[in-house]
């Protein structure tokens, strides 16, 4: 699990388009919850993010924060991190540049595109407009925390099945938004409601038709399973 460290030589990473050559984030549900065994994995975002994961807890900033820094606790995909950050450090950058969780993308850095969407305490937000310090104690779920080992979340599986992307760059954000929407009873299940609710996730490739199909298909599967 050196993947989490800020010293990984990314040149060793292989670009095998066929299958993930390695998992950036080795997630195991562990034995920590009965819920894990009974409820479907995708019903457990909340639980997963609170569970003790087998994955080691790193990086950790054990030392006292340097001048001008503050120490925060962030639980990311169930892993607790202690980090020293500057007040102006942005949550998106901390995840990408320090925790090396690069699945969350930056498409504008100004809250305008949705590529950086992730869940904080199960609510979808733009991580580019969030200070890391103000999320001290919060629980963050990123695209890397969605699947359970090799078992994809139904929304991920549906995106793959329906070709709900082209370049894939907006995809993490689309999927995180979709997961939030599907778990939100306040948002209608009809196509127009989904389109409206997802309008903060721009797809410049224009794969909207397939994204909608994927979301609705995942809805069916999640309902069927729960």
């Amino acid at each position: 699990m050196s993947d989490h460290q800020n010293n990984g030589d990314s040149r060793v990473e292989t670009f095998d388009a066929r299958s993930p050559s390695r998992r950036r984030f080795l997630k195991s549900m562990g034995a920590s919850g009965l819920a894990a065994a009974t409820a479907p994995a995708w019903a457990q975002i909340a639980q997963a993010s609170q569970q003790q994961q087998n994955a080691p807890v790193e990086p950790q900033d054990d030392g006292a924060p340097a001048e001008g820094e503050q120490q925060i606790q962030l639980t990311v995909n169930g892993v607790e991190h202690t980090l020293n950050v500057k007040p102006n450090a942005v949550l998106l950058d901390v995840l990408r540049d320090r925790l090396m969780l690069t699945g969350t993308k930056k498409g504008c850095d100004q809250g305008q595109c949705g590529a950086c969407t992730l869940l904080v305490n199960d609510t979808a937000i733009n991580s580019c407009l969030s200070l890391a310090v103000s999320h001290d104690g919060d629980s963050v779920t990123t695209i890397e925390g969605l699947s359970n080992g090799d078992e994809l979340h139904p929304v991920q599986a549906a995106f793959w099945e329906h070709d709900a992307y082209q370049c894939g760059y907006c995809t993490s954000g689309q999927i995180m938004s979709a997961v939030a929407i599907l778990n939100d009873d306040n948002i209608g299940s009809d196509d127009a409601s989904v389109r409206e609710a997802m309008s903060g996730n721009i797809c410049r490739c224009g794969a909207y038709k397939n994204i909608l199909a994927a979301v609705q298909d995942a809805r069916g599967k999640m309902e069927g399973a729960s």
């Binding site: 670009f15 095998d16 909207y208």
Partner: protein
């Protein structure tokens, strides 16, 4: 299996990596000890840098170095030749001198230990300028210094002489604004040096061209440079050719001795990474009494930069889509203070077909003919511009099929006659068209002893599905399942592949991959028939030795190829191929037609595209899932072009004013028409290549804007000749403004 995998719709082999966030894009790379660059960009569009105040920035936390025109190594320009493999669009190097040619040009580059520190310091750099008057738009350019002849002109017959006195004629001018590609992923470079070897992760549609350009610029051999772009957050043309940031990042990495990541911020994606230029297109068309075209002139001017000549070949389609004996196509450019334009999805054809297909609509009306009828009467049956037959052309069938499915014949031709509650419904159509290109290409295929195949080619998958169709190709020939095939692209250490653009990737790479696969099989047969082989007694070239579904068989006796290799302790049988570009026996083009329904609600001045039916003839479809997706996506982008998209520049100083994703309006989910129906005709074009595929990335956007504009005319009676079709162009009772 062999027959079905080509043309089937298997899901993407790289799909899992995309849906899990594992697919690595350029800025996802974090080599050891990496520093971050952040640009300082000009805030004037024309002038000279007279001073730089770097004190505050230097003292800013974490700053490592600050580059600018007085602190930048001497480099060389690239000759910028596509044939040589070193093309760029903006030939001027960053920080070359103190001149400013456009707003948003690099004027300094801060390198610091973190992204935030670099950005914070960049904000503290003070720049003073001597400002010159800027040429802010096409009109100003033409007025200030006229036009310069462009390329791609064509003339046949006597268009002028056959215009006056023709039975029906129109003389109209269309304009299209600057559009910005705005791929989701901002341009990014992560550069590192080891001695005099440069390695760079780039969001690139053309790693080989970038390597060539860097080689010329740094004066080091191509073999010392590795450009990698395994995944890219799309480009739509903006990432075909390297832009200044990649040079800046490479220099910063060399000078600081650390890997440097440099991302172009979204606002500068509007300035320093290309755009579709502004165009003005005059269309003069005339027909005889029977509604047959007798004269057609398409004269266009586009804006280019002060540093480079870029021609938007708006008339490229006009010269061959319709039959007309007297035809003139001409292109000119005029210089403005904007960055250098570049190809954007269907360059030339997208703005060109807005003009042509709107004009055809106007011409049909002037001649009193239904626009569908008019097109069927006038479509060319052979390419009159090149005097060649089309290799394969099913535009009539495409038009008729789409019309049928759309319900064109139920259309009441009277303007504004179709109502639905508050809304007026309009139907419009347009043809679409794109050239088919095939270039030379290399590829390497290994059939490996572990039962898998491994394919490499230095082309890219920009989201079009190249990984998958290459795997389909290998699967088709070898019988191996897709899960057994590894495809690697986007790395200059692989055999030379084409840029991912012009819709030519499919037609170019598949033949090379197929040939390399066959070469690998041939090598395998060589091993099998060698002394130590299972078929030592069989003649190597003998047709009786066949490879099928992973088996070598001879006279009913089969051996799995894995056993052939293992038997001789060999790792793999390898094939390398170098295939050639298209010949000139035919005119190779793709065809199609869009039918669009718009709804105009005059009570709230609301315009929506509610339905699109498109039929596309692109030869054989290799992957029905990804192909359909390409056309659907292009329709969305075409709808954006019709409806919203325009980069606005302040006419006083050339400043882009809506250079962000909130105010440069692109379609969002809610704009997706509830019904989009794409018909893929799927007629293999076997004259073009063995797969019969012509490529599908661009054609879907061509004609879309015209189809929308034609539908808007049908609904409202307003002919919008200037894109985008903003609501105010359709509204009544807008008070006049006294200019101050």
């Amino acid at each position: 299996m062999s027959d079905s995998i080509i043309g089937a719709g298997p899901k993407r082999i790289d799909g899992q990596r995309k849906v899990t966030g594992e697919a690595p894009y350029a800025a996802d790379h974090h080599p050891d000890n990496m520093a971050y660059g952040y640009g300082v960009f000009s805030t004037i569009a024309s002038g000279t840098i007279t001073g730089l105040d770097l004190e505050a920035a230097r003292q800013s936390p974490g700053v490592i170095d600050i580059f600018h025109h007085n602190h930048f190594p001497e480099l060389h320009r690239t000759p910028s030749s596509m044939a040589q493999g070193n093309k760029v669009e903006e030939t001027r190097l960053p920080f070359e001198d103190n001149r400013v040619h456009y707003e948003g040009q690099f004027v300094a580059l801060v390198v610091a230990d973190t992204f935030d520190n670099a950005r914070a310091a960049a904000r503290k750099v003070g720049v003073s300028y001597q400002r010159d008057d800027a040429i802010a738009n096409l009109d100003q350019g033409v007025k200030a210094h006229g036009t310069k002849p462009g390329s791609g002109n064509h003339e046949r017959g006597d268009a002028e002489g056959n215009f006056d006195g023709a039975a029906h004629s129109i003389d109209v001018t269309y304009t299209t604004p600057v559009e910005t590609h705005n791929p989701m992923e901002m341009h990014a470079s992560v550069a590192s040096w080891e001695g005099d070897r440069l390695s760079i992760f780039e969001s690139s549609q053309g790693v080989v061209q970038q390597r060539g350009a860097l080689s010329k610029i740094f004066g080091i051999p191509p073999s010392h440079i590795r450009v990698e772009s395994p995944f890219i957050g799309s480009g739509f043309g903006s990432k075909l050719w390297m832009w200044p940031h990649a040079v800046a990042a490479s220099v910063a990495a060399r000078e600081t001795g650390r890997p440097v990541q440099l991302v172009v911020p979204r606002p500068q994606m509007f300035t320093t990474t290309g755009h579709r230029p502004e165009t003005r297109q005059r269309m003069r068309l005339a027909t005889d009494d029977n509604g047959r075209l007798v004269s057609l002139r398409h004269e266009s001017i586009n804006t280019t930069s002060f540093t480079d000549q870029y021609v938007e070949t708006c008339g490229s389609v006009t010269q061959s889509l319709y039959s007309c004996p007297n035809l003139t196509v001409s292109h000119e450019t005029t210089r403005v203070n904007r960055g250098t334009p570049t190809s954007m999805r269907a360059p030339g054809a997208a703005p060109g077909l807005f003009a042509l297909e709107s004009a055809i609509d106007e011409m049909a009306l002037a001649a009193g003919v239904d626009p569908l009828e008019f097109r069927l009467n006038n479509y060319a049956d052979r390419d009159e511009s090149q005097d060649l037959d089309f290799s394969s052309n099913h535009i009539r069938e495409a038009t008729e099929k789409a019309a049928e499915k759309f319900g064109w014949h139920d259309r009441n031709p009277e303007v504004g006659s179709m109502r639905d509650g508050h809304e007026i419904v309009g139907y419009g159509m347009a043809a679409c068209n794109w050239e088919a290109i095939k270039r030379e290409c290399e590829a390497r295929v290994s059939l490996r002893a572990d039962g898998t195949a491994y394919v490499t080619c230095a082309t890219q998958d920009i989201g079009t599905g190249t990984y998958t169709i290459i795997a389909q190709t290998v699967s088709d020939i070898t019988g191996l399942g897709l899960e057994k095939i590894t495809v690697r692209l986007g790395d200059t250490s692989y055999p030379n592949g084409p840029i991912s653009g012009g819709s030519w990737t499919t037609a170019t790479t598949l033949p090379a991959v197929a040939a390399a696969t066959r070469e690998a099989i041939k090598e395998l047969k060589g091993y099998a028939t060698s002394e130590k082989g299972d078929f030592a007694d069989v003649d190597n070239d003998s047709d009786s030795l066949v490879f099928e579904n992973g088996q070598l068989t001879h006279d009913g006796q089969g051996v799995n190829y894995v056993d052939v290799l293992k038997g001789q302790k060999l790792a793999s049988a390898d094939g390398h191929a170098h295939t050639q570009g298209a010949d000139d026996r035919y005119s190779y083009r793709s065809f199609g037609a869009h039918f669009v329904e718009v709804r105009w609600d005059p009570g709230i001045s609301n315009l929506r595209v509610s339905r699109v039916v498109s039929a596309i003839d692109v030869g054989r479809v290799i992957n029905s899932l990804t192909a359909r997706n390409q056309v659907e996506g292009a329709i969305v982008m075409g709808l954006g072009m019709a409806h919203f998209e325009a980069t606005d520049y302040d006419a006083r100083n050339g400043r882009p004013v809506n250079n962000n994703y909130a105010e440069y309006v692109v379609p969002v989910h809610a704009d997706q028409p509830p019904e989009v129906d794409v018909i893929l005709l799927d007629y293999p074009d076997l004259e073009f290549n063995e797969f019969g595929a012509r490529g599908i990335g661009e054609i879907g956007i061509t004609g879309m804007a015209a189809a929308v504009a034609n539908a808007v005319y049908h609904a409202t009676g307003k002919r919008i000749r200037d894109l985008p079709i903003f609501k105010e162009k359709l509204m009544e009772n807008i008070p006049a403004v006294q200019s101050a």
